[in-house]
């Protein structure tokens, strides 16, 4: 089983983030959800909110609405806007 996630955050203008992480938290429309490696395949819509990508180092983003596509070893977030939050 995969031990890490390939994470991509894509906006219409650019690829905002691409990297490896151990877990991702995203604001799903039906509630916040977390993804760990080996997650079941999932497609979910996202509402505006914060995304936490826990890796080396952990990074936080503020994203606009969009959707997420999750596989066992990858997370792709497609959002209308994405901005990195710089506070710790």
């Amino acid at each position: 089983m995969a031990s890490s996630l390939k994470v991509r955050i894509v906006t219409p203008r650019k690829v905002a983030f691409e990297g490896v992480a151990v877990s991702v938290q995203a604001p799903g429309e039906l509630g916040e959800f977390g993804v760990l490696p080996g997650h079941i395949a999932l497609v979910s819509t996202l509402k505006a909110g914060n995304v936490v990508v826990s890796g080396q180092p952990a990074r936080r983003f503020r994203v606009g609405p969009g959707f997420a596509e999750v596989g066992p070893d990858r997370v792709t977030l497609m959002v209308e806007t994405c901005e990195e939050l710089n506070d710790k």
């Binding site: 039906l30 497609v43 959707f67």
Partner: protein
């Protein structure tokens, strides 16, 4: 025979034309770079979205209850009303960019009408508006001066109009006519059928991802409700971006040719001018010499 003064005037005028075409070429080159950058940076979004939709489609096709069913995906058995969206540029002086597209579009409309279909037209850009106006073809709506900063809003409005028209049954098909941007030298007039949307489910199976059985959150239909309009907007935006890039590329090429022609013309005119000047001097000399001999 043109006098020396005439030739001099022409040289001056060709020179200033050359300056203008050269400046336009440089401006287009700069704008082209910006337009291609925009098109290229929009690509990951489009590709990811396409792949995701294909995965969803193939996942559903492989048996878990046909979740990919949506009004926007349904092809109508009999196509009677077609919405044609023509995207051209606002300005001319860009070679055959608009001319080729519009001429072909005219033929395309005729071929559709021959099939008994009613074509409603919406245009973007001054050139396409003028083209249909001259031919007194009725156009439902003509939008002009659609600049890149407004693409997002224009596309959103157009997508909404298409979806409403399609779902209500007013249109059975929506087609976009635009210039596909192959490279700087080639733009290909293209007719893209955007509605009903087609998602090639077999593509993801061949790309190795295979069918994935997704959980949908919210449930199946609702997620397509969000995804498909998004996909439509992405397709339309791509058309606009390519038209923009193609226009500048085409203008750059046209102006480069014009500049080169002007340079050639100046060269041959200068040659004529110098020849004429030499002839005048020789004539004067002969007159002086023969005048002196007569004394």
């Amino acid at each position: 025979m043109a006098t020396l003064r005439d030739i001099r005037t022409r040289i001056t005028s060709v020179k200033s034309t050359k300056q203008i075409t050269n400046a336009m070429k440089m401006v287009s080159a700069a704008k082209l770079r910006r337009a291609t950058d925009a098109a290229v940076s929009a690509r990951p979004w489009q590709e990811t979205l396409t792949v995701t939709l294909q995965r969803i489609a193939s996942g559903a096709a492989s048996g878990t209850g046909g979740e990919v069913q949506h009004p926007l995906l349904e092809a109508r058995p009999a196509v009677r009303n077609v919405l044609l969206v023509v995207i051209s540029s606002d300005r001319g002086l860009c070679g055959g960019f608009n001319g080729t597209l519009l001429r072909q579009t005219d033929a395309w409309i005729k071929s559709q009408t021959a099939l008994g279909r009613k074509v409603s037209i919406r245009t973007f850009g001054k050139k396409s508006r003028d083209f249909f106006r001259v031919r007194s073809v009725a156009v439902d709506e003509a939008r002009i001066e659609v600049i890149s900063a407004r693409f997002q809003t224009e596309v959103a409005a157009l997508a909404e109009f298409m979806v409403n028209g399609f779902v209500s049954g007013e249109y059975d098909e929506c087609v976009v006519a635009y210039n596909q941007f192959k490279n700087t030298l080639t733009q290909v007039p293209t007719y893209e059928k955007v509605l009903p949307l087609t998602i090639d489910a077999s593509a993801s199976a061949t790309s190795g991802a295979g069918a994935i059985d997704y959980i949908y959150e919210p449930k199946g239909g609702a997620i397509l409700e969000t995804l498909l309009p998004l996909y439509l907007r992405t397709l339309l935006l791509q058309c606009f971006l390519e038209t923009e890039a193609g226009e500048h590329a085409s203008r750059m090429t046209a102006m480069d040719n014009a500049t080169r022609n002007a340079t050639d013309l100046i060269k041959s005119l200068t040659l004529d001018y110098n020849r004429g000047r030499q002839a005048a001097i020789t004539k004067e000399l002969i007159e002086i010499v023969s005048g002196a001999e007569a004394l």
